[in-house]
């Protein structure tokens, strides 16, 4: 492995790429490369990040053409001396690598991302067996980084599609044994730009950094609508 790599950063002002030579070691992440360039070469690079450990979901971007978290992608695993970073596709650009999440959060809110208990006055504990927990816990790992929406082929052209992130979250609540809002959620996503615009291309699951597998959640959710599941 080389001691330095070439970092190409997409700039929104010029529309082109700025190139930086950045020193790397085998544990260096792409985010660290960007921050090195920002601190020592060009302070005007706009990038959003926070936790640096794939927990906050802030640093999603396209790295060598594929959506990924910059903090979770090591330079060594890219197997390339040149790393190109661009803002995530299918999100409006604020500046450089920073994009707006308004639509993702709007769609997330639309599917009612909270437990709806049958009886609001019921103060008892709602116990769950490990098997009941297993039905949705994978989908509760979503950090709302937006990588799935960026990889989705429908989102590439459909500005009103609810998106894999929100659909997987709809499944997370529908599959929760404590929840009674299934019918409302299924009704919300049953429109011309809802769940039926997913064609099971699976790109969302391939880029998910938390193993959520949105494609599985969406198909299981659709199973309820097609009568395959109770």
């Amino acid at each position: 492995m080389r001691d330095t790599i070439t970092l190409r950063v997409k700039r929104s002002e010029s529309g082109g790429f700025d190139t930086f030579e950045v020193p790397v070691q085998k544990w260096t992440t792409v985010l660290e490369c960007i921050l090195y360039a920002k601190h020592y070469m060009d302070t005007s690079i706009a990038v959003r990040y926070s936790c640096r450990q794939a927990t906050c979901g802030s640093c999603g971007m396209r790295i060598n053409g594929r959506p990924a978290l910059a903090c979770f992608t090591k330079v060594s695993e890219l197997d390339s001396d040149t790393i190109t970073v661009e803002p995530m596709s299918n999100f409006p650009i604020i500046r450089d690598l920073a994009v707006r999440f308004d639509r993702l959060f709007e769609n997330h809110h639309r599917i009612r991302p909270y437990l709806e208990p049958g009886d609001a006055d019921d103060k008892r504990e709602h116990l769950q067996s490990p098997a009941e927990l297993d039905r949705y816990i994978q989908f509760a790992n979503c950090i709302k980084c937006g990588l799935c929406n960026s990889a989705c082929p429908t989102m590439a052209t459909d500005t009103t599609f609810v998106g894999p992130q929100a659909l997987a979250q709809a499944y997370r609540y529908v599959a929760d044994s404590r929840d009674t809002g299934k019918d409302k959620r299924l009704s919300i996503i049953d429109d011309s730009h809802g769940i039926w615009r997913c064609h099971f291309a699976g790109s969302c699951s391939q880029v998910c950094p938390k193993g959520v597998d949105p494609a599985m959640g969406i198909q299981l959710l659709r199973g309820y609508m097609l009568g395959f599941r109770g």
Binding site: P92, V99, A215, Q219, G223
Partner: protein, 144 residues
């Protein structure tokens, strides 16, 4: 600051099958074959209506469509039809939640269970079956 634009990948991003494996290729082929089959179906309905012009009209059409170019097109239609059917059944089962795996507690590096070997085998089978059908179609149409 106001967003500059939607930054949608557009048709190129939707169609680009290179970055996400065979599942994305299957998605793209499904779409393309669907459009191709619809175009063929419309053409087929139109061409068969020539029978209303009697034997002369029918024979004229047969002569017109018996060119090597149109036979090659028909072979492609056979391939599209087989791929669209086999992959369509895979997708339909997947849409019902069949064969997409079971939710679990994922471990790093998080291989997606929905993109499992069964689906990959089904996609490759659809491609292979389409190829076999095209070879068989060629032998029938070109009389090899």
């Amino acid at each position: 600051m106001e967003p500059r634009d939607e930054n949608r990948e557009g048709l190129g991003g939707m169609a680009n099958p290179g970055r996400y494996g065979i599942e994305r290729v299957a998605y793209w082929l499904m779409r393309l074959s669907g459009l191709g089959l619809l175009a063929y179906f419309i053409g087929h309905i139109y061409e068969t209506s020539s029978i209303l012009r009697g034997e002369a009209g029918w024979d004229e059409l047969l002569e017109l469509t018996s060119t090597p170019e149109l036979h090659i097109m028909l072979v492609i239609v056979i391939g599209m039809c087989v791929f669209h059917t086999v992959n369509g059944i895979r997708v339909m089962l997947g849409h019902g939640g069949v064969g997409v795996g079971r939710p679990t507690r994922p471990d790093y590096p998080y291989p997606p269970a929905s993109q499992n070997a069964r689906h990959k085998i089904a996609i490759y089978s659809a491609i292979v079956l389409a190829a076999i059908a095209m070879v068989y179609g060629s032998t029938v149409l070109f009389g090899v």
